[in-house]
Symmetry: C2
Subunit: 416 residues, 2 copies
Amino acid sequence: MNHRDNAAALDRDDPLGPLREQFALNDGVIYLDGNSLGVPPKAAASRAAAIIAGEWGDGLIRSWNTAGWFAWPKRLGNKLAPLIGAAEDEVVVTDTISINLFKVLSAALRVANERDPKRRVIVSERSNFPTDLYIAQGLIEQLDRGYELRLVDHASELTGAIDENTALGMITHVNYRTGAMHDMAALTRIIHEKGALAVWDLAHSAGAVPVDLNGANADYAVGCTYKYLNGGPGSPAFIWVPKHLQGAFSQPLSGWWGHKKPFDMVPEYRPDDGIGRFLCGTQPIISMGLVECGLDVFGQTSVAALRRKSLALSDLFIDLVETRCREFPLQLVTPRAHTERGSQASFEHPHGYEVMQALIARNVIGDYREPRILRFGFTPLYTRYVDVWDAVEILRDVLETEAWRAPEYAERGAVT
Amino acid sequence: MNHRDNAAALDRDDPLGPLREQFALNDGVIYLDGNSLGVPPKAAASRAAAIIAGEWGDGLIRSWNTAGWFAWPKRLGNKLAPLIGAAEDEVVVTDTISINLFKVLSAALRVANERDPKRRVIVSERSNFPTDLYIAQGLIEQLDRGYELRLVDHASELTGAIDENTALGMITHVNYRTGAMHDMAALTRIIHEKGALAVWDLAHSAGAVPVDLNGANADYAVGCTYKYLNGGPGSPAFIWVPKHLQGAFSQPLSGWWGHKKPFDMVPEYRPDDGIGRFLCGTQPIISMGLVECGLDVFGQTSVAALRRKSLALSDLFIDLVETRCREFPLQLVTPRAHTERGSQASFEHPHGYEVMQALIARNVIGDYREPRILRFGFTPLYTRYVDVWDAVEILRDVLETEAWRAPEYAERGAVT
């Protein structure tokens, strides 16, 4: 397919097409960065107004009970659960992914060492999102009991690196740079066969690809709500612990929201029996409330339908880039096989940074990741086939005219 | 003073009176619970709308740079700093008070043990807010290196409990139940004389009473923004570390926001040189943005002026309760001396819970704390002298008519 009309025809036939209307996305913007920050659901503005004026302003302190604020982490966790193959009361929405990973690693190391005290190694990939590695490093240094973070350079080395000293495999399901996706069930099986536990980071998976945590027999998971789930900038993250592991050990961030009876105000910590023990302190209610607006859109479709469109969008994008831009030095770094990739397509270009700035200046918003990576995320809830066509045409123009060589595109700012 | 007219006269002469106009407080509500959840500044609704539509919706991912989101924890920290006697770049607004306390205790124990490895005791009060004790317990259990939490029953025993084995005094400046306030400078001096470090919790102090952390030579502090600072339900907390201690040790919640160069995306954690190392993960931007609306009101007055009115309001309240309600079994548990109390007045009543429910049903909103405590907070930004008069008259009516005996007031729900 090489014509915009074909793309427009795909949009007309797209059963997910009408969902785009539920998002506040400006005309003329081609947004291929929903893998970094999702677009606001239109409902978010009115929901924020209602929380501020009604629940906070009118209800005041009473809203902790009357609006159910105190129960939101569990209520939203249950609403998110079907997207990741979790059961009721196995998920809470709370804190940040970094903090939730600290909780999970702390608990998981205790469980692993209870089974076998000599297991002191956390295995992960050097290409994992840095905060995951940093949190493991911080925990290991704090524990100061001979734990070690063992990093492999390639996903293919993971299996070999997991051995009789491994306590945990700490695996990010979809790589943030390349979009490469692990086979969760297969890798969990291997980790278990080696006697270790599998901790999964779903930052680039939840709402983007089918995830079946219980089906894969995973042990712990964390993820975020501000990417594909459209919860808003920095919206609270989530944590999943299956029923059979919830009672095993508590976690050290034992704040009052994780207490079995927080309002008894007793001086001794007693963890909640269930997933509640993974809560800690008082949550940012307004940011948390907006997570529900994103989840409500997911309630109108299925992960399978989203996945079909996501693959179709990214297949189209890859095909168009490789045909329409074939004379330029763009190298696909995302696996081609559907089973091996998430919902993004990443290309290397020797001047990736400048090319991305030039694209953004033309309202094609992807992002850049070191080194040299142009990253494009495909969010089937609000991305059209014509957006893909137009984005590639603009990319071709930027490359053909060498617009990216303009000096302003070389300036480096902080990017996320 | 026994007449409402006198109270009204005080309001007419009140230089802080006009600030009430900046808060969205419903007519007819007497809100004496700003020590638990502050009232929304009127600016909060429009600020939320602007963040959602403009920064999130229009700016999308670019707003991390163009709206400065990534810098908000430090920017808001600097705006908050004058309220607590902190210098520039010593405060960040981030995460929750429980999590910030975990960071601070972790760093402080390292500093204390670097000086003297045998110091393994954290001294605190049994009446401290439970989450502080829970977090210390969680950390001690995790470290598993012979640390101990030593709790005293009365504030007067603190000095005696701090000895040559004490690493830290973990002190909440103003007690959440009684409103009793410590002399921060004097107690810090004693803690230092015993060779320990002083960690302060300012949950009920920031924006309520004068605090001079640097003047008191304190070592670490945490606090929250959703009480007297009116940041919104569960709005992000803050953390203060003085310049000379920032480089001493990092903290174990070493997420990417605390990295010296987060966007280099390198696999090794290197902490930021300054207060930034006390950050961890991506923050809830909408909830955080509203913190500024509260801080902006404080920029229009002074802590000294707020303190004068706070004491006048609470003196009036105590005086009226003790004269107008003298035949009822109400016992003041808040110290009378100005130097020894925060911005609340707490009374014990044998049926405190029921009495508070009856008051709330009549739109006098304070709160209840176990056991038997009626808690009334005085927030001089939006509380009037006539509110104090009216509140006491309604309390007298509830007691005189025994309205609190109605069965519906005995039902226990979760309260915060």
